[in-house]
C-alpha cells in the first residue's frame, strides 16, 4: 500500500515513520514549492486559510504520481482544520481522482482513536500487530522530539554563525540523520550526535547586550513550514536575532496527550490577565498559547515577539487584535510584529518589514542599556 501525507516543514521524518513502521510504503511529496502550489490554489475555495491550499497541492502532486492513499490529520472543532480532509476529499473526487482518504483524529490523543488509523494502514491483521503499532508510536514520538531539539538549536545558534549558511546546512543534515535512524538505539545515540553537529558550527559569541532575543510563535503549519513563512526564522537569525520557539510537532503531541505542562503554564498566564483581555479558553488554533507565550516572553525580558499566521486565520486574528492593543496600551514592554501569510504575500515586503523591526528593537535595547549604565 502506498500512502502519502502533506508536508509540515521538517516534520516529515516523524510522519514517515508512522506509515513505514506499520508496513506501508510512503510517497513523500516534494517539499512545498511555488509550482506545486498552483494546482492547490486553482481548486481551493478562494479565501480559505493557507494551510488548506498547501496541503491540497501536496495531495494533488501525489495523486498525479499514482498514489492512491492519502493520510490527513483532523480535529473536532472549533476551527476549520476539522473540515480540511472532508472538503479536500470532495474537491479531489470532483476532479476525478480515485483514492482512499485516511484521517488521523488528533482532537484528543488519549482516546486512542489513532490506533485505528495505524491498524488500517498496516495490512497485517494479527494480534502481534499491536506491538508494531506501539513501537511505531514510540518511534514517532522519539523522532518528533529529536526534530524539536534540532529546530530549537537552529533558532538559537544561527545569529552567531561565522560562515553564513552553516546552520541551515547542519539542520538539513540532522533531519536526514533522523530520517535514516530507525531503531530506538540509533535514535538514542542521535541525541548526542545532534548536539555535536551543532557544536561543530563555528560561532562568534558576542556580548549578551548586543544580541536580540526574539520569541516566535503562531499557527502551527505556518510556523513550522519554511516555505509557507518564507523562512522567517532564518531571516531573523541572519539579522542577528536569537530566535526562541517552543512550538513544535512534539510540543503539540504532548499537549494532545494532556502532559504538556509548559502549555498549562501559558494557559494560566493568560487566564490571570482576565481584566485586560487574556483569553479564558482555547478558541482553536494556537491563539491561547500564543498570547501566553507573549506574556511569558515579556516577563522574561525578551526584546521582541514575532507572531505569524495564515491570512484570515480566525483564532490568531483574535489574538492579534488583543496583542496589538496590549502593546499600544503599554501593558507589556515588548513590541510584537505580525505577519499573515498567503499566496500573495511577497518576500520583499517581508524583508523590509523585518529589517525595520529589528532596527527598532536594536534602538530600544540600546536606550535601555544606556539607561542602565547611567544609573
Amino acid at each position: 500500500m502506498k500512502v502519502t501525507f502533506p508536508h509540515m516543514g521538517n516534520c516529515w521524518p516523524a510522519f514517515k515513520v508512522l506509515c513505514t513502521g506499520v508496513g506501508a510504503e510512503v510517497y513523500l511529496p516534494d517539499p512545498n514549492n511555488v509550482k506545486q502550489l498552483d494546482a492547490g490554489l486553482k481548486h481551493s475555495p478562494e479565501w480559505v486559510c493557507f494551510p488548506f491550499k498547501v496541503t491540497l497541492s501536496n495531495f494533488i502532486e501525489a495523486l498525479d504520481e499514482g498514489v492512491d492513499n492519502l493520510v490527513m490529520a483532523t480535529d473536532c472543532g472549533p476551527c476549520r482544520f476539522g473540515f480540511y480532509y472532508a472538503v479536500q476529499e470532495r474537491i479531489l473526487r470532483d476532479l476525478g481522482y480515485d483514492f482512499k482518504m485516511y484521517y488521523l483524529p488528533q482532537g484528543d490523543l488519549l482516546d486512542f482513536k489513532w490506533i485505528k488509523l495505524l491498524k488500517a494502514l498496516s495490512e497485517d491483521k494479527s494480534l502481534l500487530n499491536y506491538f508494531r503499532i506501539f513501537r511505531t508510536a514510540r518511534l514517532f514520538l522519539m523522532k518528533s522530539q529529536l526534530i524539536q531539539t534540532v529546530e530549537k538549536l537552529e533558532g538559537k545558534i544561527r545569529c552567531y554563525e561565522v560562515n553564513k549558511g552553516d546552520t541551515t546546512h547542519t539542520l538539513n543534515k540532522c533531519i536526514q540523520l533522523i530520517d535514516d535512524a530507525n531503531t530506538f538505539n540509533e535514535l538514542n545515540k542521535l541525541r548526542k550526535r545532534i548536539k555535536n553537529e551543532f557544536d561543530k558550527i563555528e560561532i562568534n559569541k558576542r556580548d549578551n547586550n548586543e544580541i536580540l532575543k526574539v520569541g516566535l510563535s503562531g499557527e502551527i503549519q505556518v510556523t513550522l513550514d519554511p516555505f509557507v513563512n518564507h523562512d522567517i526564522k532564518r531571516k531573523l537569525g541572519e539579522l542577528g536575532c536569537e530566535v526562541h520557539m517552543n512550538l513544535s510537532l512534539y510540543d503539540w503531541i504532548k499537549h494532545k496527550f494532556h502532559v504538556n505542562f509548559h502549555r498549562k503554564y501559558l494557559e494560566y498566564l493568560n487566564k490571570s490577565q482576565k481584566n485586560i483581555g487574556g483569553l479564558q479558553m482555547d478558541i482553536g488554533g494556537e491563539a491561547f498559547w500564543v498570547m501566553g507565550e507573549y506574556i511569558d516572553y515579556a516577563q522574561r525580558g525578551f526584546d521582541g515577539f514575532v507572531h505569524i499566521y495564515p491570512f484570515t486565520c480566525m483564532p490568531e486574528i483574535t489574538a492579534k487584535s488583543i496583542l496589538t492593543k496590549w502593546y499600544g496600551n503599554k501593558y507589556f514592554d515588548i513590541p510584537p510584529i505580525f505577519f499573515g501569510f498567503d499566496e500573495h504575500s511577497g518576500e520583499a515586503g517581508l524583508i523590509t518589514r523585518l529589517e525595520s523591526y529589528v532596527d527598532l528593537l536594536k534602538n530600544k535595547k540600546e536606550k535601555k542599556n544606556n539607561g542602565n549604565g547611567r544609573k
Binding site: C76, P78, K274, Q280, G284
Partner: protein, 356 residues
C-alpha cells in the same frame, strides 16, 4: 421609593439577530433596563472599521462599532455573550468563543462586562442563566421564573418566524405582548421563490446586506430565510461526508436548511450571503456550491465587505433572478410540448445549470 433600574447595553450585532428575544425577556424579568445600540448605520461601520484591525471579518468590525455606540449611551453594564456551543459536539466560530476577551482586550473605558457563557459541553443552559442571574444579585426563584418565561417567549418568537414573519416583524409582535397573534397568509403573485441563507447578522441586518430582502421583494420574489423553514429540520446534525459530522453551531442551521431545500426542491434558487474573510463560510460555501451544481439548483454566494459597492451586488442579484425566471419559463414551455423527448429536457437544463 424610586427604584433605579440598572441599564444594560446590548450591541445590536452578531447573535442579537438570533437570541435577542431570549436575552430580552430574561433580563427584563430580572428587573433591568435594556439599552440597545442604534441600528447599523454608516457611522457605526466607520468607527468599527477604524477601531478593529484590518483582517477581521465585517460582522466583528460592526460589533466594535455597536459597542462604541453603546458607550455613549450611559450604560451601567455591557452585555457580551460568550457562545461556545448550544448542543453537545458543536462549536461556534472561534471569534465567538473569544468575544468577551476580545472586547475587554481592545476597547478602553468599558463599563463592567456581563458575560453570558453558554457552553453545553460543560453545563446545561439553565445553569448559565443561573450564573448570569447571580451576577445581578437575584434570588434563585426569580431566576427560575425569568428563565422559564424567556424560553417560552423565545419558542413563541421562533414559531412566529416559522409562520412566515421576518425577524423585525416577529420582534415587534413579541414586544406588543400579544400572544395570540396569528400571521395572515398573504397570497401574492410572485415570479420566483428564492431562499436567502446565511448568518442572521448578515441576513437580517438590512444595512450591511444593502436591503437585499426588500429589493428582492420589489422584484416580486418570494423570499425565504432559514428561520422560516420548519423547526424539525434542524434537529439532526448534518453529515458532511460519511466520516465527518458538521461541528459548527451557526453553520449547522445553514447546512440543514440548504439540505432541506435541496431535498424538497421547493425553491427556485439560493442566495448565500457571507462576509469576506469569514472562516466557516469559506468552507461550507464550497460544499453547498458543489452540491447545488450537482443538483442543478441555481446558487450564488454573495460576499459582503464594507467596500462592496451597492451597484455590483445588486446587478449580480438581478442577473440571478432574471436567469431563474427565464429558466422557469423555459422549462414550462418545454413541458407543454409533449413531443419533446425527455433526454433533451435534461440536456437543456444542464446547460442552464452550467452557468454556475
Amino acid at each position: 421609593m424610586i427604584v433605579i433600574k440598572k441599564r444594560i447595553g446590548i450591541p445590536r450585532s452578531l447573535l442579537y439577530y438570533k437570541y435577542f428575544p431570549l436575552w430580552k425577556t430574561f433580563l427584563e424579568e430580572l428587573g433591568v433596563e435594556i439599552v440597545l445600540s442604534d441600528r447599523t448605520n454608516s457611522k457605526i461601520i466607520d468607527i468599527g472599521g477604524r477601531y478593529a484591525i484590518d483582517e477581521i471579518c465585517i460582522p466583528l468590525k460592526l460589533y466594535y462599532g455597536h459597542v462604541l455606540n453603546l458607550l455613549e449611551k450611559n450604560i451601567d453594564y455591557l452585555f457580551v455573550p460568550r457562545y461556545v456551543s448550544t448542543t453537545i459536539g458543536t462549536y461556534f466560530c472561534p471569534k465567538f468563543l473569544g468575544l468577551p476577551d476580545m472586547v475587554r482586550g481592545t476597547i478602553d473605558n468599558l463599563p463592567p462586562i456581563i458575560e453570558f457563557e453558554v457552553n453545553m459541553q460543560k453545563r446545561p443552559m439553565y445553569l448559565s442563566a443561573y450564573k448570569l442571574g447571580k451576577v445581578l444579585h437575584k434570588s434563585t426563584w426569580q431566576i427560575k421564573k425569568a428563565y422559564e418565561k424567556a424560553i417560552k417567549d423565545y419558542k413563541y418568537f421562533r414559531q412566529l418566524m416559522v409562520d412566515g414573519l421576518s425577524f423585525k416583524k416577529a420582534l415587534n409582535v413579541l414586544n406588543s405582548k400579544n400572544r395570540n397573534f396569528k400571521p395572515k397568509k398573504k397570497i401574492i403573485d410572485y415570479v420566483a421563490k428564492i431562499a436567502i441563507i446565511g448568518h442572521g447578522y448578515n441576513v437580517h441586518d438590512s444595512f450591511i446586506n444593502m436591503n437585499l430582502i426588500n429589493k428582492l421583494n420589489k422584484m416580486k420574489v418570494n423570499v425565504v430565510t432559514l428561520e422560516n423553514l420548519p423547526l424539525e429540520i434542524f434537529k439532526n446534525q448534518t453529515v458532511i461526508t460519511n466520516t465527518l459530522e458538521n461541528y459548527w453551531g451557526n453553520e449547522e442551521e445553514i447546512l440543514s436548511a440548504v439540505n432541506y431545500l435541496f431535498e424538497t426542491k421547493d425553491i427556485d434558487g439560493i442566495i448565500f450571503i457571507c462576509s469576506f474573510c469569514c472562516g466557516p463560510d469559506s468552507l461550507i460555501d464550497e460544499i453547498m456550491a458543489r452540491d447545488a451544481k450537482k443538483l442543478k439548483i441555481p446558487y450564488i454566494g454573495l460576499v459582503l465587505d464594507e467596500h462592496s459597492g451597492q451597484a455590483g451586488v445588486i446587478t449580480r442579484v438581478e442577473a440571478f433572478v432574471d436567469m431563474i425566471v427565464r429558466k422557469k419559463n423555459n422549462i414550462r414551455i418545454i413541458y407543454k410540448k409533449p413531443t419533446m423527448p425527455i433526454g433533451i429536457i435534461n440536456k437543456s437544463e444542464k446547460e442552464v445549470g452550467a452557468e454556475f
